[in-house]
Symmetry: C2
Subunit: 369 residues, 2 copies
């Protein structure tokens, strides 16, 4: 149908009383003074993780700036209002209006929360953004989040993570048997099928556990964050890639009722500031990680790639585990199938695009002088 | 020095008349009603390039939303106010307040404009963002842009481009001799050293020139944009990678005087909306390109990688050309040296990070069923 025809049809249908109503709707709303609104955002991060926490501060500062300080979102670190892993609960119940967290942390409530962050062998940062913003991924997840009385807005990414710090080298699958590895969630489950004994240990306790040999290995984030915890001194083998966190998104969960009471301009402010924070965190980590890795290598880190046979085994086990969850959870299955179809196209295309070019660049740099 | 000491020092130094001045500065400004401001942005794109042009529309819409329609930026397509390639001139002179363009287009004014977009064998989207936002790249470029009475804000990226459409296969360096290739700028100069005859042809004229054989090949952008121009029907060999545009940024040039008259809240609005547009365009292209490539292959496109010997030759020639420009242009040299040092670290790190993981994913997908 041509636009002109469509307009005629609408005009024709709108005769009589309907026309009057349309006219009322079309007249501009009387300009209201922008209200002063004070929100609180609870972060799942301590202030020391200045990239993760820094994104929340940026978000808060930006919203204040563009609203001329009329919309203020006060930032609280993990533990100041609620513990880091209870951020979502505080938003659900309305204790705070919103939080900045990793959706994966709420995997125990429903495995479908994982898609907000990433799944093992998931998608890289760019692919995830494409899926969420333009591929229908965010809508799909927020349909699910509704039942928890929240909506999710992406606002950060740690980028592809490292595989972690090991006290000894991993040369074969046999080296994984009995290995006490600080790793959680689905990845821990997958690795347990290879004989790994997954450990749950809070950040501050990892270093002494590695030092004493209570655990054999630990994964955290990437060079910039890992450096702060000093693992290089007690577990020098630094493995890659962290296949369980390929492009882990973090972001804002907003209480649905609180969201609905926000003026549209303020809703837009939260969205645009979150989008900026998303890009900011990725580019901040991208800027900080390479020099941090160089410092770590200077301090004795031994870079190692996981053995290919291990990656392949984990890939197969990962697919089995994810398909098993799918078979028992219809929401998970719906998002998983959508995610996998999108991922397939992405990895097909990157072979003639960024991956091809980046691979050339790595080789060409060696030809230079 | 501890923060407390520093504060004491400042207090001590601020005695007497200075203290009074500080007190005046510290008191909050009287709240002003946000002014209604109407700007114009001229794009270098036709409306048909809905990803490039779409980013400008998003930027304009977002600024209107978050300002409650008090800050309006009206969008004009290429040719409506000035031709696409004169967008910067219109901003410099104050004909319009700002434009959305590719800085590279102004290479003829000064080669240093190239860094705003990308240089051959430059950096991918993420690396460029890291360099610009967190590596000092944007400050460095804007020092240079000052002399043109403008400042630059990144607001989009086409992502790694394809190498273009060829009527015949390129199997050796000899196949490039005498090849009439629609390609411009530094890349054209580099390829001319391999015998290519670079051609400058406007978008609308490329198809008939390829069809008649007036030219042998043409590069445009990537699958989604290329598909619209129908090249697959007349030059089926679709080459990659487009080493001359690895992560080409586009963005907003703002007239310096106009920028300085903007209230701080409106300056922040333009920055945050540009940041969102930057991420939006990358993720939009990332979502659109893979299905477009599949359609093109279905329509007969023959995917080909440029011969490695050609890529290597172009890499060497590119370094020679860029170093030659550096030797003659101090501003170019300053930015180039900074860019190259940053790029080296980026490609070092991606080998244990995204590039490693993405390479695994490409291989692992083939193991799946």
């Amino acid at each position: 149908m041509k636009p002109t025809n469509r307009r005629n049809l609408l005009t024709a249908a709108a005769g009589g009383g309907v026309a009057a109503a349309v006219s009322t709707i079309a007249s501009p709303a009387i300009a209201q003074t922008a209200p002063t609104i004070q929100w609180r955002i609870t972060a799942s991060w301590p202030k020391s993780l200045d990239t993760l926490y820094g994104a929340v501060e940026l978000l808060s500062r930006r919203v204040a700036e563009i609203s001329d300080n009329k919309f203020k979102i006060q930032v609280f670190a993990a533990g100041e209002i609620v513990p880091g892993l209870q951020a979502l609960d505080a938003v659900q119940s309305g204790t705070v209006e919103c939080c900045h967290t990793s959706p994966f942390y709420y995997y125990g409530k429903d495995p479908a929360f994982a898609f907000g962050t990433d799944i093992p062998f998931g998608m890289n940062v760019r692919m995830r953004n494409a899926w969420m913003y333009h591929g229908g991924g965010l809508e799909l997840m927020n349909e699910f989040h509704k039942s928890y009385n929240v909506m999710f807005i992406p606002a950060g990414n740690t980028n592809a993570q490292m595989g972690g710090w090991f006290r000894k080298e991993i040369k074969t699958l046999d080296d994984l048997k009995g290995l006490k590895f600080r790793i959680g969630g689905i990845a821990g489950l997958i690795m347990s099928k290879l004989g790994v004994v997954p450990q749950q240990i809070a950040a501050g306790d990892i270093y002494p556990a590695l030092e004493r040999g209570t655990i054999d290995a630990a994964e955290w984030v990437g060079p910039y964050d890992d450096e702060k915890l000093g693992f290089v001194r007690v577990a020098p083998y630094y493995y890659y890639p962290g296949w369980w966190e390929v492009g882990p998104t973090v972001g804002v969960f907003v209480n649905m009722q609180k969201w609905q009471t926000l003026p549209p301009a303020y809703q837009a402010m939260l969205q645009v500031a979150s989008a900026e924070a998303n890009q900011w965190m990725t580019s901040k980590y991208d800027a900080l990680n390479p020099p941090a890795l160089k410092r770590l290598v200077g301090a004795g880190a031994q870079l190692r790639s996981f053995p290919p046979e291990m990656i392949e085994a984990c890939w197969k086990l990962s697919n089995e585990v994810l398909e098993d969850i799918s078979s028992k959870n219809a929401v998970f299955k719906k998002i998983y199938d959508h995610f996998v179809a999108f991922r397939n196209d992405q990895y097909l295309y990157t072979q003639v695009s960024d991956l091809s070019m980046d691979s050339y660049m790595v080789r060409l740099r060696n030809l230079r002088k």
